[in-house]
Homo-oligomer: 338 residues x 2
């Protein structure tokens, strides 16, 4: 199964749909729609739409039935990225300056809101493709998604604001389930079920998506500290931003005395007061205490759980390229390099 | 007709509905929902839900059919207020510190997103009250509303960022129609029509709502510079924020030479570099050139146009307290003191 090729095809479909949905700029739009298309056209992986399409199609739904929902998910994802870059003060995104770095906070907050508004369009018109009942079912999933994602962000921002570090693996895993797994895996797969009338598989799909989402974020954290050249974000951005990752929590739980205190002192500083040498020291620190190995192993363990949960789904649907894609993605997520 | 009493009743209904919709905080929500309820409970006027309820009810819809949609509109309004306070760096809101002033930009952006997510809940469950077809019709209005509002914000933020002052009355009126009239008047009244199956009145309602919305914002601008004690926002906040109002554009069009240049020099400064004495000088400046009188007269003229457009709506529906409220509101908007 060529996971990358399936993703690329989903990306083409969804980017076309997003271009069609987006109005052209005029003298009365203040350049809004050029900025709305900025992140979606920056070579995303289209993971969420691909997963939604694959789930619906492995249950027999036609492609046209699921593309509007897939496009809405990708628009939501990009809205979250824009607001996330504001909230985390991220300087780069997909290898280029972030929207707030280039256009400031006010314009970026507004562009994120426009992406959220644009996402409502295919959802409001979805009745044409899947009937009004299922269209509202998709909306219900997305309403829950929006709240879960905001809860995850609130937890993480609260920890950063209160400088909380007395956190266990369970705190991290639950936060990541809310912040990442819900909108990147649970919502796409559950929307696919709604589109294909496959709610009988919901329990097994929930478990698959939850474990896959946690594995994905764990691997993302590892890549953030590991990959320097190929990865699109800034190097060790998580350390600059003071993110509570399993990597850091593991190292802090193993360190003692002055070394541990030095790590906490650096992490307590706001980003602008940190220095590159301090970030390098933190990188050595987490390596020294096996933080990266611990997180990579946890990513593999969660991917294994996802694979076991997905076996129950796979047994209930016919063999297809779409089923193979989800299966392949599970194997891929904990070993990928993007 | 007691406009204030009708507003107060709508407020009670909608605040109750919002309380019911909002989850309780737990150890896994990072205090999100306490902050989500902050602005909605700060004594808002409930203008938008009242207008939506009145429009639906004057066309014969029962109250239960329209309350979820009215609550969604109020949640959107509060989401926009939160993100607006981030974008404008506003320090106060309804007489108290603004959310960003109290909790910072990251948490405020996220609270706004949670309010937007919460607004989707009654919309997704609206089929119970009004059937799936009309529920999706409401969603379509709100999708357009979200984009128009973002377009208006983009226009205004673009003018501020480029320090553009070569703007005419028409630029201001169109920006305000997008930024304020759409979500505060057009969307509430059009949602009311959808709920009550009254789309035959759409042209007259569009005209009423557009003129009323422009009148409302013009009066808002006047109040911002006039009322110091009773008004809930900071004094002359628009001048601190460098907002392009009809008041300022009118004064700048009438001023000359060094005086005009001094005004432009003050307005070009970022908020943190402006001084209170400069804001006082600007207040005298706009008074001297009749800016406030000009805007107040324009507010009355737009309210008159709204009244003429609403006559066509009123002729098509039976006499009721709901029809009287809209009529009363039109008379009220250009003379109000809140």
């Amino acid at each position: 199964m060529d996971v990358e090729a399936y993703l690329a095809e989903a990306r083409t479909l969804v980017v076309d749909e997003i271009r069609t949905l987006t109005p052209a700029d005029s003298r009365w739009t203040g350049g809004l729609y050029g900025l709305v298309l900025d992140y979606p056209l920056r070579g995303a992986k289209a993971l969420r739409p691909a997963l939604c399409i694959a789930t619906a199609r492995m249950l027999g739904a036609p492609l046209d039935a699921v593309v509007p929902t897939a496009a809405a998910l990708e628009l939501y994802h990009n809205a979250f990225l824009v607001h996330d870059d504001v909230e985390d003060e991220s300087l780069t995104r997909r290898g280029r300056p972030s929207l707030p770095a280039e256009h400031g906070v006010p314009i970026s907050v507004n562009v994120g809101d426009a992406l959220l508004g644009l996402a409502m369009r295919p959802l409001a018109q979805n009745a044409r493709e899947i009937g009004a009942g299922r269209a509202l079912g998709v909306l219900e999933v997305l309403a829950e998604m929006a709240l879960r994602t905001a809860e995850g962000q609130a937890l993480e921002l609260g920890w950063i604001r209160r400088n909380a570090w007395a956190l266990g693996d369970r705190d991290y895993v639950h936060m990541v389930w809310l912040k990442t797994a819900w909108y990147s895996f649970l919502a796409p797969m559950r929307c696919g079920l709604v589109v294909a009338d496959g709610q009988r598989l919901q329990l097994a799909v929930n478990r698959t998506a939850s474990m896959l989402g946690i594995a994905f974020q764990l691997q993302d954290d590892v890549l953030n500290l590991q990959e320097r050249a190929r990865y699109g974000k800034e190097v060790a951005g998580d350390l600059w931003e003071g993110k509570r990752t399993l990597i850091l929590l593991h190292a802090l739980a193993r360190a003692h005395g002055a070394e541990r205190q030095l790590a906490l002192d650096i992490l307590a500083k706001p980003r602008a007061q940190k220095e590159a040498a301090e970030i390098d020291w933190l990188l050595d620190f987490v390596h020294r205490h096996g933080g990266l190995d611990h997180a990579a192993a946890a990513a593999r363990a969660h991917a294994d759980r996802a694979a076991r949960a997905f076996a129950a789904v796979a047994a209930a649907v016919p063999d297809s390229v779409h089923r193979d894609f989800v299966h392949g993605l599970i194997g891929y997520v904990a070993t990928r390099s993007w």
